[in-house]
């Protein structure tokens, strides 16, 4: 954790405060907020959502519209977006998570499509397919976050907070209950654990994080359009979590940074980058179903065990 913090503080000074990479890493931070929640949902609640771009879009549009049309305070707008998104998630989550199977994936997918259609059709409100701009920047105690480097530190502090919160969730009653679902949902139910209620809680939490991420995006880019929250992003987020390893929160961060940086090198493929992502996703799921961080953890454990075995063998001989 400390290494993580030091690394992120040192990074801007390694690449230069005004470097383009700062922008890339701001986006990585913004998306990390979503993938942390998504990793809780996928790795711990065993559910998949293909609509987190929708919650991101809800956050971005609510923040954007309230601050530009009604001149709300950005923080107030952010809270309103959180509330709206969480209620939407609750409405979707309650019926779908009560069913076993994967209705949630399709329901969230449908929600995302409906939202994009809505954003595109309501031209007078949302600017239609071309979106709208002039969203004010965020300020903290009167200090406006104007420069990239300021926003960089701001976003990654929030990511760190979200990470700490997610770790607390995993080690709380909810986290234990969720792990028991993996051990056997029926047994957990028999022990009196209302597994579906915990699943709904995690889903709403992950949607709220996506909304927060959307609000930050709106205030950083100061412009929002439907392309920012299309299905492609939802799939992308799932790929990020799966590649990093969905059973590790760090996996979400690693996957997100990797997939935000990778496109900078994949420009040569132009539109075919999507093909590369599909292939990467399939290969990871087939050969390293626990993701990169999962594979790494398994490797370290194996090496350690081998080392210990050698060690005890030697001791046994003596």
């Amino acid at each position: 954790m400390i290494v993580f913090i030091l690394l992120f503080c040192a990074f801007p000074f390694l690449v230069g405060v005004k470097s383009y990479w700062i922008t890339v890493f701001i986006f990585a931070g913004i998306y990390s907020l979503i993938t942390i929640g998504l990793s809780l949902l996928m790795g711990y609640a065993g559910q998949i959502s293909l609509g987190h771009a929708a919650f991101f879009g809800m956050g971005a549009y609510t923040s954007g519209l309230l601050t530009t049309l009604l001149n709300w305070n950005p923080w107030l707008a952010l809270l309103a977006a959180l509330l709206l998104t969480s209620s939407a998630a609750l409405l979707i989550g309650i019926p779908t998570l009560r069913l076993s199977g994967h209705y949630l994936a399709m329901a969230t997918l449908a929600l995302g499509e409906i939202l994009v259609i809505f954003f595109k059709a309501e031209v007078e409100l949302t600017g239609g397919p071309s979106g709208f701009g002039l969203i004010p920047r965020l300020s903290i105690f009167g200090f406006v976050l104007k420069r990239d480097i300021e926003f960089y530190f701001f976003v990654w502090s929030i990511v760190a907070l979200a990470l700490v919160m997610a770790m607390n969730v995993i080690h709380s009653r909810v986290g234990r209950a969720l792990r028991s679902i993996h051990g056997g949902e029926l047994a957990a139910n028999a022990m009196g654990i209302n597994t579906s209620s915990y699943k709904v809680q995690v889903f709403v939490l992950s949607a709220a994080l996506a909304s927060l991420s959307g609000s930050l995006y709106a205030h950083y880019v100061t412009f929002v359009s439907p392309t920012a929250c299309e299905l492609k992003l939802s799939v992308f987020l799932v790929v990020m979590v799966a590649i990093g390893g969905m059973h590790h929160l760090w996996g979400a961060i690693v996957g997100t940074i990797l997939l935000t940086v990778l496109p900078e090198f994949l420009h040569v493929f132009q539109d075919f980058d999507i093909l590369a992502y599909g292939l990467i996703l399939m290969i990871i799921m087939i050969f390293a179903p626990n993701g990169l961080v999962g594979a790494l953890a398994a490797l370290i454990q194996r090496l350690r065990r081998r080392f210990l075995a050698v060690d005890s063998q030697r001791r046994g001989v003596i």
Binding site: M42, G46, Q47, I48, L50, L91, I92, P95, T96, R98, L99, S100, G101, H102, Y103, A105, M106, A107, L109, A110, L111, E113, I114, I117, F118, K120, A121, L231, V235, V238, V239, A242, D271, F272, I274, L275, A276, Y277, G278, L279, L281, M282, M285, I286, P289
Partner: protein, 299 residues
Amino acid sequence: MGISIWSQILQYLVTGVSIGSIYGMVAIGFNIIYNATGIINFAQGEFVMLGGMIMVTLTAAFGAPVIVAFFLTVAIVALIGGLFERLAIYPLKNAGVLSLIIVTIGGSIVLKGVAMFVWGKESYALPHFSSEEPIPILGASILPQTLWILGAMLLTVVLLTLFFRFTLIGRAMRACSSNRTAAYLVGIDARQMVCLSFILSAAIGAVAGIIITPIALVDYNRGFLLALKGFSAAVLGGLGNSAGAVIAGFLIGILESLGAGLVSSGYKDAIALIVLLVILFVRPSGILGDKEALKHRSF
């Protein structure tokens, strides 16, 4: 005036029934794989898209006669379905449902990417199977292609029913879906049945893609929305229930066409999806009941 509004509604019904047939067929494709594996195959729409694309290539570029091209296309897409299972689903062996679903998402992206690579981003059309002269009925007009669509859909349903009821393989597949372990004990190779379910699903998807292309263009990106609407039909009909899928397909097609014509065409594509959300909320077992949801209800 009164007559014209009725003939207009009749026209919407006709359009709805033909597009609904396609949704129903996509839903059946979902059901076959769902029954065999318990997973929702996100690449289902891609099979439909591939069906349309390959048919266009075979008839336009190679000049194959429609009937030959039809069977060749179905065979090719079925082969792709089988390969997809062998390359992506089979190696996962004991993976959880979640991993399987993620793999099908990856597969759908790959198939879409390959289609974009091969055919580019343009839309393609196919000539109608027979004349393009509309047949007037009660003030509305029906394109002969609509009849082809209906006929192909009904034939598919009949053949599938016969297959699942009277052939050994069909009955083995049903046995696997109702109890995998028991089927294994009587000597049915469940893994073969999973592969077969992908082949069958892909073939049905291909048929749907071929028959819809003459009245709706096809491009590399078309599969996704069709899959989502087909899934809406599958849930409305009760996931795993193919008779329900057909009825639900018609219902969604008609609702969509009426909604687009009478309410707002901007929200045309949202209608099926709103139906999906409402049905999940109100009656997740669908109109004709679904095993999974019913099981849950008894708690």
